[in-house]
């Protein structure tokens, strides 16, 4: 079997603070493998059998190599970094376009595609669906488990309904659930990962023109953006006497 897992590197939102103006402070915030992508990889590792190959792919800046390294540590067999200045500013469409072009050219014969449900930074959850539509394969969102009985079946959770869907060769699943405590590699895994080359490919390798990728290949045009704040009614208890103030607050909470 040939499994392909699409992953993204994201800022570790759990350690992103805000400054006094409420702006995200990204400085010093480490980048990590998107947790949903890690779930997707974990699922592929779980079903991987003798002789199966797990390939991981990301489109991103050169630093995204560290997210791929983590995938190798956690059990991926090979890793591709799609990186090119022209890829910058890609929206979901241009991203899916780049990923599908890579897939058609480099791993045309694949059995299953895995994505994380969404990236923790963009939160659009659009890339898996667009990628599936460009590949002309089935797409199965909200997959929580993968079972093999008479072919692969995706177990999907739609909150009010659990479904088991049969998958065809080449179908895509987007994974929404995994371990709460991420796995840790062993030293042996680390050594194996260190000895695996991460293959870097650019626009020319994949065979796409500048107008198909990055900002130029994007359909989304952001004309303006403004911060919106959810308004909550703040009440200031200015009693002077803390005991009185506490009583007042207690009354309101009740």
């Amino acid at each position: 079997m040939r499994f392909v897992v699409f992953v993204k590197q994201v800022p570790d939102t759990s350690s992103v603070g805000t400054d006094e103006n409420g702006n995200l402070m990204r400085e010093g915030v480490p980048s990590i493998l998107n947790p949903y992508c890690e779930f997707a990889l974990d699922m592929a590792c779980r079903v991987k059998g003798e002789g199966d190959i797990i390939s991981v792919v990301t489109m991103g800046p050169p630093q995204a190599e560290s997210a791929l390294f983590r995938c190798l540590e956690l059990g991926a067999d090979e890793a591709f970094l799609l990186t090119d200045r022209a890829f910058a500013g890609a929206d979901v469409y241009a991203t899916a376009k780049t990923l599908s072009a890579f897939l058609k050219k480099f791993i045309p014969d694949h059995d299953l595609l895995f994505c994380g449900r969404q990236a923790m930074d963009g939160d659009t959850a659009q890339v898996p669906a667009e990628l599936a539509s460009m590949m002309g394969c089935g797409q199965f969102y909200y997959t929580e488990d993968l079972v093999f009985s008479d072919g692969w079946k995706a177990v999907q959770n739609y909150y009010d309904e659990e479904r088991e869907c049969a998958l065809k060769k080449g179908d895509l699943i987007s994974v929404s659930k995994g371990e709460t405590d991420p796995r840790l590699p062993s030293v042996a895994d680390y050594i194996r990962a260190s000895g695996t080359e991460i293959k870097k490919l650019d626009r020319v390798d994949i065979g796409l023109g500048t107008f198909s990728v990055g900002l130029k290949g994007s359909k989304t045009r952001i004309t303006s953006s403004r911060p919106v704040s959810i308004s909550r009614r703040g009440i200031l208890t200015d009693g002077g006497d803390p005991t009185e103030a506490a009583k007042h607050i207690k009354g309101m909470v009740r």
């Binding site: 350690s15 603070g17 010093g28 405590d181 062993s186 030293v187 042996a188 895994d189 050594i191 260190s194």
Partner: protein, 515 residues
């Protein structure tokens, strides 16, 4: 602004620390400035009223626990002031309640925008450095205050490579018991033999030092430091608040380098210990070596059953009977080290497969959470027992011996505790000859047995050239160790030093020695 004063109710958190002993006090003073501290101390001095200094109360020997009088908490003196540079490198000037975690977070995120230049352009220079910096002393409890760390000369796993807090203090500023201020950096005032002569803004002092030989060959926090011609900064470090309230300090910081954390699992206690000895012989110098015996792993397993989220780590492998935790720099030598470790671990029943490693910041934090969860689990267990019997408190050794005598000491631990019929777990800083042996008390009877066993162990540790209190200090619960180590004479000499600085014994009375 005046200090806020609060009444201490009997369940006030200011009446206890992690030793779980509980004291009593009338009022809690919460100074916001050094002037507030001076005023509070002066008032207490003139009335001869005890004042116990409280940091973040993570101490393990009751040093900040008051027995009468009032409490002064440093909690609002919590600002990082600025950055400076001298021939030894960069240092951070800070108030005492800044915690180890806060300092390291500011350094990691390089959030220096509100910091002063203590020396010309130091902030900008540090920002422009290609590498990150960090404060390397890791007392395991990252929520402890740096003032508390200095007062206790805290150390921890990283002491193997970086030494204790003492090695990182450049300057201190303290309010003495009469309200006088001393502001000294290393080199300013040295003892003349065993006598200090110095001036504060209030008076001239002559302070005699104890005549004992302070053991610097092992990790040691028993008693105040005393050496010929020593620096006065060293008198305050590790003095458990007996001589003054620290209001400011300069702490050096170190260049950070990427590290990889590793935990190797072994079938039983003997195999892990034998692996540790092999590592020490190999000369590969890990940043630290920490040991967990089978009992420690069982504690973690049990705690994770109760609370699966406890330390955010995967489950400990079922067949693991012990573990060794080490950090290595990620550099050109790492793979060669791993190859050697592979052979050494296999020779002792382990393998590179049967291990965990992590180099991303979040993973390394998980490893430290795992390490921390062992003492934490024991604290919680004891806190639970306390409900049944308030007299029960944690009983853990904190003894160090020179590495050459560690074999002998390990045998003594098990032989003695078995003789007393006491359940125990062993973990900690094996690389420094410093293990924590924690007795799992079942009832009051065990507590009595444990006290006797500990005394025996302490005598043995001293005989083997070690210290009965390697890093947790003496405070109020380990005072007998002072006499064990330095005799009656030594205790008397510490009293003399205390008396010279604090004639009315108002600051942290009862720490190390009673009046």
């Amino acid at each position: 602004m005046a200090s806020v004063v609060r009444r201490a109710s009997s369940d006030s958190p200011y009446l206890r620390d992690e030793s779980k002993i509980t004291g009593d006090a009338d009022e809690i003073f919460v100074p916001e400035t050094e002037e507030d501290v001076v005023k509070t101390v002066e008032e207490h001095f003139s009335e001869g009223r005890p004042l116990t200094i409280s940091g973040m109360r993570t101490g393990m020997c009751g040093g900040c626990v008051p027995f009468g009088g009032d409490v002064l908490t440093t909690e609002r003196l919590n600002k990082i002031i600025g950055i400076g540079k001298d021939s030894n490198g960069y240092y951070v000037r800070l108030q005492p309640a800044v915690t180890v975690r806060e300092l390291n977070e500011v350094l990691r995120k390089r959030s220096y925008s509100n910091l002063q230049n203590i020396t010309e352009d130091a902030v900008g220079d540090l920002l422009n450095e290609g590498t990150d910096f960090f404060y390397p002393v890791d007392p395991t409890e990252l929520n402890s205050s740096l003032g508390g760390n200095i007062a206790a000369n805290s150390s921890g796993p990283r002491t193997l490579k970086y030494g204790p807090t003492r090695n990182w203090v450049r300057r201190i500023r303290a309010v003495l018991p009469d309200g006088g201020i001393i502001d000294v950096k290393r080199g300013d005032i040295k003892a003349d033999g065993r006598l200090f002569r110095f001036k504060t803004d209030k008076r001239e002092l002559e302070v005699p030092l104890p005549s004992y030989e302070y053991n610097m060959n092992v990790k040691n926090s028993t008693g105040i430091m005393a050496r010929d011609g020593m620096d006065i900064v060293d008198l305050f470090i590790g003095s458990e608040g007996m001589f003054g309230v620290l209001t400011e300090a300069d702490l050096y910081i170190s260049k950070w380098h990427p590290l990889i954390s590793n935990i190797f699992f072994f079938p039983d206690n003997g195999s892990a210990y034998s692996f540790v000895k092999d590592i020490q012989k190999s000369g590969m110098e890990p940043e630290f070596i920490e040991y967990f015996d089978s009992g420690s792993l069982d504690l973690i397993r049990a705690a994770r059953k109760r609370d699966p989220k406890m330390n955010q780590m995967p489950d400990v492998p079922e067949d693991a009977g012990s573990a060794v935790f080490m950090d290595f720099p990620i550099d050109g030598a790492l793979m060669r080290k791993y190859m050697e470790i592979g052979e050494l671990s296999e020779a002792n029943g382990g393998s590179l497969e049967n291990s965990w490693c992590g180099h991303e910041l979040r993973d390394r934090e998980r490893f430290f959470g795992f390490r921390h969860s062992v003492p934490q689990t024991i604290f919680e267990y004891v806190a639970g027992l306390k409900g049944e019997d308030p007299e029960i408190h944690k009983m853990g050794t904190d003894m160090s011996v020179p590495l050459d005598n560690l074999d002998r000491m390990m045998d003594i631990y098990s032989e003695t505790l078995e003789r007393y019929g006491l359940d125990h777990v062993t973990f900690g800083h094996i690389g420094n000859g410093h293990l924590h042996v924690e007795i799992i008390l079942k009832d009051m009877e065990d507590l009595e047995k444990a006290k006797n066993a500990y005394r025996e162990l302490a005598v043995k540790a001293i005989e083997l050239g070690g210290s009965p209190s390697a890093e947790h200090g003496i405070g109020k619960i380990k005072r007998e160790y002072i006499e064990l180590m330095y005799g009656n004479k030594g205790a008397e000499e510490i009293r003399r030093t205390k008396e010279a600085i604090d004639p009315k014994w108002i600051l942290c009375p009862g720490n190390m020695v009673e009046r």
